[in-house]
């Protein structure tokens, strides 16, 4: 800065700058950077809002051991825009101020209502959950769940508030109460705190004994087809066969997807962080919050796979003596953190990962497309940076799948469909690097193969690493890519067997036709030479055909 000090205006000094230096609230930050949360453009914003609400509902139901029943209702409040305006993503990214300068970008106004039959939310928690960013139950634990950060639904509400000025309206009923609790909320973006506009007890209009209904009014665009709400709901039914989903679209059309199984997925267990995966900042924070009495017990109590023996080893490797918790200094922690990678520590337990299951993901693909061949594999759990994860893959081939299109890819992370940024995703990096030509598919360089093939990849983890907070693409960890690769290869091997089998069958048919073409001439010639009757001729032809059919399998 100083080097640019020229005659343009008065030079700043520390005091003058200090006047402008103040805390930036998370809410403010995200208000300006809403693309980070998936609210880049009106169409995507609408979908992201649905996604965040549905994720939360599913998580809540599963934790309460309730078979989820989720209704998504979309109402258009403004006149629909007939001519599709070019989506100006750049403007959208810069926030609504820039929109104003460029004149009104045509958007539509919607009311989105998502209702679940979950356990309900205690009235006092509602404002924080829905109108405070980074508030939630899931960030501070390591457990496989859809939501992770406590941002999503608040961000959706904030987006609605910014684009329409309308508050969020939440109705939640607890099972033991007769009435539901209704709250009208706004978020104070400067302070990242909720403003409760009104609250009252109301009648619960739904059949379920408990549940939550969220209503957000927001600007957006609703279109069917790729990357639409329709597709998102459909894909959710695929990854959550135990859920009952209902979508009521802008034309009041109801799409009902009854559950396919009444079996709830196993509830994933929560694990403590593994030392290998903990970054220094978090390590300091954990030490500050620990209830352990000493440095050593902090290590053995708060981390997974750290026994007393391992804790001692870490301390001796770090050259730090065990001290009471109150005496732990940042220097201790830095040394200990540095020593951790030098000590061999068992991998974290992996039973905390719950797969969808080979059969279910295969069924998922079967619903999507009528193919000739399906296969699926669930890999054993593996570990990246101390976080357990596992990869599942299903593959469909042939049948009604188009041979002219690139491979269809369904991506799921902790059962949540990923619809955006495919090219940034670890799954694509793996799929485009594999050689698909040996399976009879065309493959442009560094691209997905072209052919009648669809693939589903599910990455489950206590902490799925996304490339951004909008959770659109899985980050490129080598361990994760390797597992994806192995899963895909396992499926591809099955495909290769199938393709060969199919090839052999086609070959056998071709040979049978070939034989059928010429055998009659042998019969005809024999008839002419030996003056056979027609029935004698037919007999010799059919006998010969059988003889050859039998042997052609042997490769003659």
């Amino acid at each position: 800065m100083k080097t640019h000090e020229k005659k343009k205006g008065k030079a700043e000094d520390a005091d003058s700058m200090a006047k402008r230096q103040r805390e930036i609230s998370v809410s403010e930050f995200f208000a300006k950077n809403r693309h980070l949360l998936g609210f880049d453009n009106p169409k995507k914003a609408l979908l992201t809002a649905v996604k965040e609400a549905v994720d939360n509902s599913l998580d809540a139901c599963e934790e309460a051991h309730i078979l989820p029943e989720i209704e998504v209702k979309l109402e258009r409040l403004s006149a629909p825009i007939v001519e599709a305006a070019p989506e100006n993503e750049k403007d959208a990214k810069e926030g609504k101020d820039s929109k104003k300068r460029k004149g009104p970008v045509p958007t539509e106004r919607y009311r989105l209502t998502i209702t679940d039959n979950g356990p309900g939310i205690v009235a006092t928690q509602i404002p924080k959950i829905f109108a405070k960013l980074l508030y939630g139950s899931k960030f501070h634990r390591l457990k496989m769940s859809r939501g992770q950060q406590g941002i999503g639904i608040s961000a959706a509400g904030m987006y609605g508030q910014m684009t329409t000025g309308k508050p969020m309206r939440i109705t939640s009923k607890l099972p033991k109460k007769d009435k539901a609790h209704f709250t009208e909320l706004q978020i104070d973006t400067k302070k990242n705190t909720p403003d409760v506009l009104s609250e009252k007890d109301v009648d619960w209009k739904f059949k379920s004994p408990s549940g939550t209904s969220v209503e957000i009014t927001l600007e957006g665009r609703y279109q069917r087809g790729r990357q639409s709400i329709d597709e998102f709901i459909l894909q959710n039914t695929l990854s959550n066969p135990h859920g009952h989903f209902r979508f009521i679209d802008v034309d009041n059309q109801v799409f009902d997807y009854p559950r396919k199984t009444k079996e709830l997925p196993e509830v994933p267990s929560e694990i403590k962080p593994h030392p290998y995966g903990v970054e220094l900042g978090r390590f300091h924070q954990m030490a500050a919050e620990t209830t352990a009495r000493s440095l050593k017990t902090f290590l053995s109590n708060d981390f997974s796979r750290v026994s007393d023996k391992v804790a001692s080893e870490i301390l001796s490797t770090a050259g730090v003596k065990d001290v009471p918790a109150s005496k732990i200094t940042p220097d201790h922690l830095n040394k200990v953190h540095e020593a951790i990678p030098k000590v061999s520590i068992m991998s974290p337990p992996t039973d905390c990962i719950v797969p969808i299951g080979e059969e279910l993901i295969m069924n998922t693909l079967k619903q999507h497309s009528k193919a000739d061949f399906y296969t699926a594999v669930s890999r054993s759990p593996a570990v990246y940076r101390g976080n357990p994860f596992m990869v599942e893959c299903a593959l469909a081939y042939g049948g009604d799948l188009s041979g002219e299109e690139p491979m269809t890819v369904f991506r799921f992370a902790n059962r949540v469909p990923l619809q955006f940024q495919p090219a940034a995703c670890a799954t694509f990096r793996v799929l485009t690097k594999l050689d698909w030509k040996k399976y009879g598919l065309n493959q442009p360089r560094n691209s997905l193969p072209v052919g009648p093939i669809a693939i589903l990849i599910h990455v489950a983890s206590v902490w799925v690493p996304f490339t951004s907070e909008s959770k659109e693409a899985i980050a490129d960890y080598p361990e994760i890519k390797q597992e994806i690769r192995l899963a895909v290869l396992e499926c591809a091997r099955q495909l290769s067997l199938h393709v060969n089998r199919a090839y052999r069958a086609a070959e056998a048919e071709r040979k049978a036709n070939y034989i059928d073409t010429y055998i009659p001439f042998i019969g005809e010639a024999l008839q002419e030479m030996l003056k056979l009757s027609d029935s004698q001729k037919d007999k010799v032809v059919s006998t010969l055909r059988n003889t050859l059919e039998r042997s052609k399998i042997d490769g003659d």
């Binding site: 040979k511 070939y514 034989i515 073409t517 010429y518 055998i519 001439f521 042998i522 005809e524 010639a525 024999l526 002419e528 030479m529 030996l530 056979l532 007999k539 010799v540 006998t543 010969l544 059988n546 003889t547 050859l548 042997s551 052609k552 003659d556």
Partner: protein, 368 residues
Amino acid sequence: MATKNKAADNKALVGIDKTAREIYDKSLKGQKPQLKMPVRSLTNVKYKNKTGYLELSNQYKTRTLTYNTVKGFAQTLKMMSASKELIETNDHASKREMYYISKNWGPARFDEQPESDTVMDDIEAMMCVNREQLRFLPEEKGGEVAGQLIVFDRDRDTNKPIKIDCTGFGSGAYSIPISVEHLEFQTKAKFILCIETAGMFQRLVAHNYWRKANCILISMGGVPTRATRRFVRRLADTMKIPVYTFVDGDPYGIANIYRTLKVGSGNAAHINEFFCVPTATFMGITPQDIIDYKLPTHPLKDVDIKRAKDALKNDPFFQFHKPWVKAIEQMIKMGVRAEQQALAKHGLNYVIDEYLPEKIKAASKFLP
């Protein structure tokens, strides 16, 4: 041509019926039928000096009906059936006509004539008959004849004898017909001279060499056709006159033209017994002639050398005759060849005035 030869017809018919019956019986038993035929190659012939021709040895190949052979099988049987019909109706078909007949066979038809010719050769070998007995006729032209010979043919309609005087064709010649079995001869000639090239034949005819030497001149035009071989054979046998061969002094003239004339071909060994001239001898051009007559030469090409070495290595006829082994080895060593017409170096009529009289004087020393 349509003159009936009962015995020959019979052999072909019996062969066809037997083969068809075997295939039929085996097929009905649920077995894969097979066609068995001798291997048609030099590797499957033997030579006995006593009989004097390349005889079929005992290697057979069987073609079993499978996916891969089903088309060829159908084609072979259809052609056998066609042959049978030709015999029964006392008709014949040329090789080309046979190829066109197959166009009625739908997918089993032949796409190109070489395919149909190969099947024809297979059937011929399978039945151990001559293709003329199957009533298939080649398009190939027979040789030409000039000189001291009267041939008796017959009028097709009246069956009256036709007398053909081979001295009466002027500067032209008598063409050997495709089938020669019915011909009769009358001659006082002292020898038959079989000549490789039409050019040399023309020179000798134009200067009436046959009158001077009292002989019969035959132009083979390369490797002699079956008809030419059979014609010379019948002529030599019935008239009891020697046959001298005059070809280019190169491995082709020796190992292909002369060998085929004398002992038959490796490819159709089943008919060699009748289609060769075991009494023929080799007048020239010998490797020694190249030296003795100081003939202009060309170097042997790779194919020539290969052919010569092949003759030494695989041909039982040459292997049997030590003088031939020596002569071929000599040629390989010299590395050169000389054409018949190289004699023109010494004057156009040198061949008539000097070479031929000198050589024929010493006919007993001709290579066997």
